[in-house]
Symmetry: C2
Amino acid sequence: MLLKRIAILGPGLLGGSIALRLREVGGWHVTLWTRREATLPQLRERGVADAVTANISDAVRDADVVVLCVPIEAMGRLAEEIAHAAKPECIVTDVGSVKASVVAELDAILSGKCRFIGSHPMAGKAESGIDAAEASLFRETNCIITPTAATDAEAIDLIRGFWETIGCRVVSMGAGEHDECVALISHLPHLVAGSLVRAVADRNPRAFEVVGPGFRDTTRVAGGPPELWTGIMQANRGAILEAIDAMIAKLYDFRQTLERVAESKDADDLKNFLAVAKQTRDQIKFPK
Amino acid sequence: MLLKRIAILGPGLLGGSIALRLREVGGWHVTLWTRREATLPQLRERGVADAVTANISDAVRDADVVVLCVPIEAMGRLAEEIAHAAKPECIVTDVGSVKASVVAELDAILSGKCRFIGSHPMAGKAESGIDAAEASLFRETNCIITPTAATDAEAIDLIRGFWETIGCRVVSMGAGEHDECVALISHLPHLVAGSLVRAVADRNPRAFEVVGPGFRDTTRVAGGPPELWTGIMQANRGAILEAIDAMIAKLYDFRQTLERVAESKDADDLKNFLAVAKQTRDQIKFPK
């Protein structure tokens, strides 16, 4: 089976960037679905897709692959409609930042109707919305796919190939391990960035007048859309609570070390704390 | 008085970038001092300065302005030598990330010998050392200067003009307020980034295999040199301990909010936490 016709549900940063990338690749027929009928003329004019529609059944009827690019709390309702309209061989995936709950919900709805496999491309930027979309957004980023024991092997190969076409490096893991990993490297950084901004605002807002590039980068992710992130945080609450506890414990460790260190002697523990952090980070293979 | 001859003490990222910028501006005579005699041939070959030397007295004797670009714990010893060799009208400044302790120490040493005024250009990048230096490093960054009641007005004007030549926007504040501000927007982000890397490593190092650009940016500053940062953390310990407490309190706030939020209802507090962080950050005027 060759994937040629795609329905992208949700014309935001990720959906728009997938559409732009596929136009660059060529040979695809892209249908873009939006919930908001009023935006159809704009989307048509923009020309990122071969067809745009606000009707889900029309969008997915002939699709070889459907990608849900909507907030995770909106996915179940869309999956119900996909289950009625899509071909049995159609592969359905999503770009949600949480997988255990999404996979459980969508598997239950789509099982026996078409083939679902969860995805999470780890791409993003400060801006959101289709205006920020770009064909190169996914290039050299990691995309996690979360097949279950029941997922058919062809579907795994096809979705892996799809994300590689988009530009991703694909990693496969269980939905549970995915959620634990992203709680640590995506959800925790987001709430840490937000907490950092708010802690500074509480203590001395004048500090914002003299920020450097370090503060800008450390807090960048806090600029993401609060609605989207609220849904993510709720859906992955358990793993995130554990990640916060680990973070608070580590900060407290550092605090104790700093308090112990006298002005001019015995700074080895302090240097060691920072050196281990640097060494650990230096070994990470970052995308792009 | 016109500043024309400069001695830059310390051929690292900041010292090297100042030298490169002044060569671009033209009309300056730049002397670069290094502690390590063995590196003199390399520095000469590199051609970033008109003269390079390992002799402090030679470096500062004819200087109109001296900039200390060395770790803060090395500044006192260099200041003693500057006090013996520099002209009385010479303006001495530094690029240290902590000001109250540095200003107190250097004022005491240089008072009556030449004119000292503390500076802190808020510039940096992931790489350190002269290999990473670039003429544009300071462009549109903030530089804080910390004059005291005793600093003469001409010296303030001259040092302000100097940093503007280098490309900075200059902000003047007391050394104490400086230290409180940078504890919040520079030192706290550094230790937060380091703690984040270490918390993830403790809980599940496999998470590093799937990092995205968000984790890279949030932790970037943790890649800075541990020796340098150990000195900074020690020197600004009091303000940093208070900043850590504010950060832990804010994380705990978020934790409580997340725990309170049930799966599908009452997510307003959670969204509000994230929205206030985003709004606050959106209003910050970041450099570059």
